[in-house]
């Protein structure tokens, strides 16, 4: 390392051909594949136990209504099998040193407790496991075991243990350990496995940390978390999905024997569903920005509800209908023709009356108040930056804006690059966007990385 780099003097440096991609949602997957397929090595770091991100949770994509899993899972498998992609799940970047072209990165790899090579995915362990927790993949609509595969198409398709819900780990080894007993492979499950620290060197970093959904409990007047049949859009997405907890049926939230609120296939279907737009978006009290995808996914969900339950009345309460993309306005017109009721006016509050939900809204275009009963209410929650963006931004030396989205170098002409050379951003971590935009930006980020490696016979860093 040249000491003059710290002083900001010009110097020439060969770029390390390996790349670090942080986050393995559709953006991280796309960028990794593009770089790896061009012949360079990629370290793909993912916080959770599987790749796929939010897109894997969706049932259909708008406006074409393609099956999300059908598009995504082949890419996930490709990542899992790619010889030039080193996939690091349950891992987080903890330290970034060095300089553009030669970053030295420390990665904390949490123990999965199940050997990735030995596990045959038979499921004997999970069948006996007594520990339960809300399934992250099913957005809390169902429970999973403490030893689990996040979802059937997960990559890597191997079991892992969540220490928070594992009885053995919560009791310091005093209880349970039943998974080890029932595992047919020797030494496959190690309940005392330790976390690892990894040190790697890369030339470029692609940030693709995505988003988390707005916490609907923050808007108390909608009663999320209080009224069982007020759902987030992501919960409905899981209900509609055939691989979800209700096998694709839209049912009410019910209590199971142990008192957990879950969805079951026999939970009963709603006769009316109301969708409230802009929950946690376009609101000075939480997030002032537009989350960009909610209008369209709400229309998509309305369509899917109508498709599953044709007799069910669906209402959309919106402020402005933002159908801005290719084929989007046409999609909006199509959903209107399908008989979904569109009401301009944001619902102000929800009350529960004898198990039914009463929504009070102003029907602006008809100059009246609507007090409407609905069996189920869907909150179209907005997008927020993932947890930990602040730490990561400080670690890497990339700025975030007031809302926590990564700052691009130039919003018009360089939405991929950042103020730090060698660091590019892709997907929602730069700002809310839909899948086509995310994929486009991920490809652009990959192109930027490849450009630097290829032309890096000699590249000038300032």
């Amino acid at each position: 390392m040249n000491s003059s780099s710290e002083n900001g003097n010009e110097f020439h440096q060969k770029v390390h051909p390996d790349t670090l991609v942080i986050g393995a949602g559709i953006a991280g997957i796309q960028a990794s594949l593009e770089i790896a397929n061009a012949g360079y090595k990629v370290y793909l770091v993912e916080k959770s136990g599987t790749i796929g991100g939010h897109m894997a949770m969706f049932d259909k994509t708008f406006p074409t209504l393609d099956c999300a899993a059908c598009i995504l899972t082949p890419k996930m498998v490709e990542v899992g099998q790619h010889s030039r992609i080193d996939l690091l799940t349950c891992s987080e970047v903890t330290e970034v040193n060095g300089y553009p072209g030669a970053f030295k990165v420390k990665i904390h790899k949490k123990a999965r407790f199940v050997d990735q090579q030995l596990c045959i995915g038979c499921g004997s362990c999970a069948a006996k496991c007594p520990g339960k927790a809300p399934s992250e993949f099913d957005s809390g609509t169902a429970l999973r075991k403490a030893i689990y595969i996040p979802f059937p198409q997960a990559v890597p398709n191997k079991y892992l243990i969540d220490p928070e819900s594992c009885l053995y780990m919560q009791t310091d080894g005093k209880k349970c350990g039943v998974c080890v007993k029932f595992c047919p492979v020797n030494d496959c499950i190690d309940l005392h496995a330790m976390d690892e620290e990894l040190n790697i060197e890369v030339g470029n970093i692609v940030i693709a940390t995505g988003f988390k959904i707005f916490d609907a409990k923050k808007v108390a007047r909608f009663g999320y978390g209080k009224f069982p049949n007020v759902l987030t859009s992501l919960e409905l997405e899981r209900l509609i999905n055939a691989g979800g907890p209700t096998e694709g049926k839209i049912t009410f939230r019910t209590k199971d024997k142990k008192g957990n609120w879950v969805f079951k296939p026999d939970g009963g279907a709603p006769d009316s569903v109301a969708i409230i737009h802009c929950v946690g978006s376009r609101d000075e009290n939480c997030n002032a920005y537009c989350s960009k995808v909610c209008c369209m996914y709400s229309l998509k969900l309305a369509h899917l509800v109508k498709e599953k339950l044709p007799a069910t009345a669906v209402y959309e309460y919106f402020i402005d209908m933002r159908a801005f993309g290719k084929g989007y306005e046409e999609f909006y017109q199509r959903i209107k023709k399908e008989g979904v009721h569109m009401i301009r006016g944001k619902t102000a509050k929800i009350e529960e009356i004898k198990g039914s939900l009463k929504l009070r809204s102003e029907d602006i275009l008809n100059n009246r108040i609507i007090e409407q009963l609905a069996d189920m209410v869907i909150l179209a929650v907005g997008l927020e930056p993932s947890d930990g963006v602040k730490q990561l931004s400080e670690m890497i030396g990339v700025e975030i804006d007031a809302n926590g989205w990564y700052k691009e170098l130039d919003s018009l002409l360089d939405p991929v690059g950042t103020a730090r050379q060698g660091v590019t951003i892709a997907g929602v971590c730069q700002g809310p966007k839909d899948i086509p935009d995310t994929v486009a930006q991920a490809s652009a980020a990959a192109a930027r990385v490849l450009q630097s490696i290829e032309s890096l016979k000699e590249v000038e860093f300032i």
């Binding site: 007047r221 802009c278 000075e284 009401i343 009463k358 102003e362 009246r368 108040i369 007090e371 409407q372």
Partner: protein, 398 residues
């Protein structure tokens, strides 16, 4: 509802003008309808506050001038708290109430007082000075006033003035009360008629049958006494506090104007006597609620107290001073401090008289009449709607 006449004149500067009556980012509104829907008082036929914001943004001054809606709002603040644009819809209703007060007043004084604190201070000072001078010149302290103490040691309040018998002194003050009531009441009644003209007569879209005036009349009395609409706001404690204040000063008003000869008497009555109990209740009621309001206005929290117009402070301070001088007067009297009682009596009146003369017909206190009348008028209009809007729980349009 209605009120829009054939010729609609747009005043693009109206929003700027209205900022003199209250502060809000009303142009920020993007019309999501949250405020109207969250308001428990907003109903079909009388939708607010969003409708008023829209009218304001379009500069339709005339339409706002003839609207009843601002008086139907009791400013619980729910709309402003949850407004996604921080546009302060509740404060617009408040600003419009101030503005409408100036529009109903035909003398033009109200507008002067609302748009210039100096005018209001000057008016208060002149009336206060008139009271003080009249006393010192026509009703001076008699030289042997120190002797005017009764057997229980209390000051004989009606016997302090030179050249006037105690009975005559009470009658004089009573005449003064009546004179003030006639002037103030007369002004207020003409203002109410002005309001009636703007909101009902000038609205050619409705024709109110005579029977409705009688059928709905109870609304006027009922709402004046109970402020029942206010109780529909989710923050009910505010309604209770306001009711305490309102019953307090109403009792005091009735005692002073109607029963003065029984109230302002020479002997000191026992603590459990009706007049002392009522007086203490009124004092407590007024001070309790005023205390809360002063505290909240200083803290600028909750959102309804964030912006205080000069007229708000003047009203609060005048009412507080009236009450405090009343308490001090009571103490001096019981303690037998003759001179102090006499001068405090003058100060008490020098605060009370301008407060009533300025506040009731021209300023904030006029809402005591405009609010119940607005409810009455709104019921009159609703009664004329062919199909009464019982659209509750109806399916929405496609």
């Amino acid at each position: 509802m209605g009120g829009l006449t054939m010729n609609t004149r747009v005043n693009p500067d109206f929003e700027k003008e209205l900022q003199k009556y209250g502060k809000g980012n009303w142009n920020e509104c993007f019309h999501c309808g949250n405020c109207t829907a969250i308001c428990p008082l907003s109903e079909d036929g009388f939708l607010f506050p969003r409708n008023s914001i829209r009218t304001l943004q379009m500069g339709l001054e005339k339409k706002l001038e003839t609207s009843i809606e601002p008086w139907l709002c009791y400013y619980c603040g729910d709309c402003s708290e949850t407004c996604p644009r921080d546009a302060n819809p509740g404060e617009l209703m408040m600003a419009l109430r101030r503005y409408l007060t100036t529009r109903y007043d035909w003398t033009g004084l109200s507008k002067k007082f609302y748009t210039s604190a100096v005018w209001e201070y000057a008016a208060i000072a002149i009336i206060a000075l008139l009271v003080i001078v009249s006393f010192l010149v026509f009703l001076p302290l008699r030289p042997d006033a120190a002797l005017m103490v009764n057997e229980s040691g209390g000051v004989m309040i009606n016997s302090l003035v030179a050249g006037v018998s105690p009975d005559r002194f009470v009658t004089l003050i009573e005449y003064g009360d009546w004179l003030m009531a006639v002037i103030v009441g007369g002004l207020l009644i003409t203002n109410i008629f002005n309001m009636y003209y703007k909101t009902i007569i000038a609205d050619k879209t409705v024709k109110i049958p005579l029977s409705a005036y009688f059928k709905e009349f109870w609304q006027l009395i009922y709402n004046f006494v109970t402020q029942a609409s206010f109780s529909k706001c989710e923050k009910r404690s505010y309604w209770l506090g306001h009711l305490l204040l309102m019953t307090g000063y109403t009792i005091m008003f009735i005692i002073v104007v109607v029963f003065l000869p029984y109230f302002q008497i020479e002997e000191v009555v026992p603590v459990w006597h009706w007049q002392r109990l009522l007086g203490y209740y009124a004092t407590f009621g007024i001070l309790f609620f005023l205390g809360i309001v002063i505290f909240q206005r200083l803290r600028k929290n909750p959102i309804t107290m964030k912006f205080s117009h000069a007229s708000d402070w003047i009203f609060i301070i005048m009412l507080a001073l009236t009450t405090l001088t009343g308490i001090i007067l009571h103490i001096f009297r019981l303690a037998g401090m003759v001179e102090a009682t006499y001068y405090t009596y003058i100060i008490h009146l020098a605060v009370l008289v301008p407060m009533i003369v300025i506040e009731v017909p021209f300023s904030k206190w006029s809402h005591l009449a405009y609010r119940p009348f607005a409810i009455y008028f709104s019921k009159l209009k609703l009664a004329t709607l062919k199909e009464k809007s019982v659209r509750k729980l109806a399916p929405a349009i496609s």
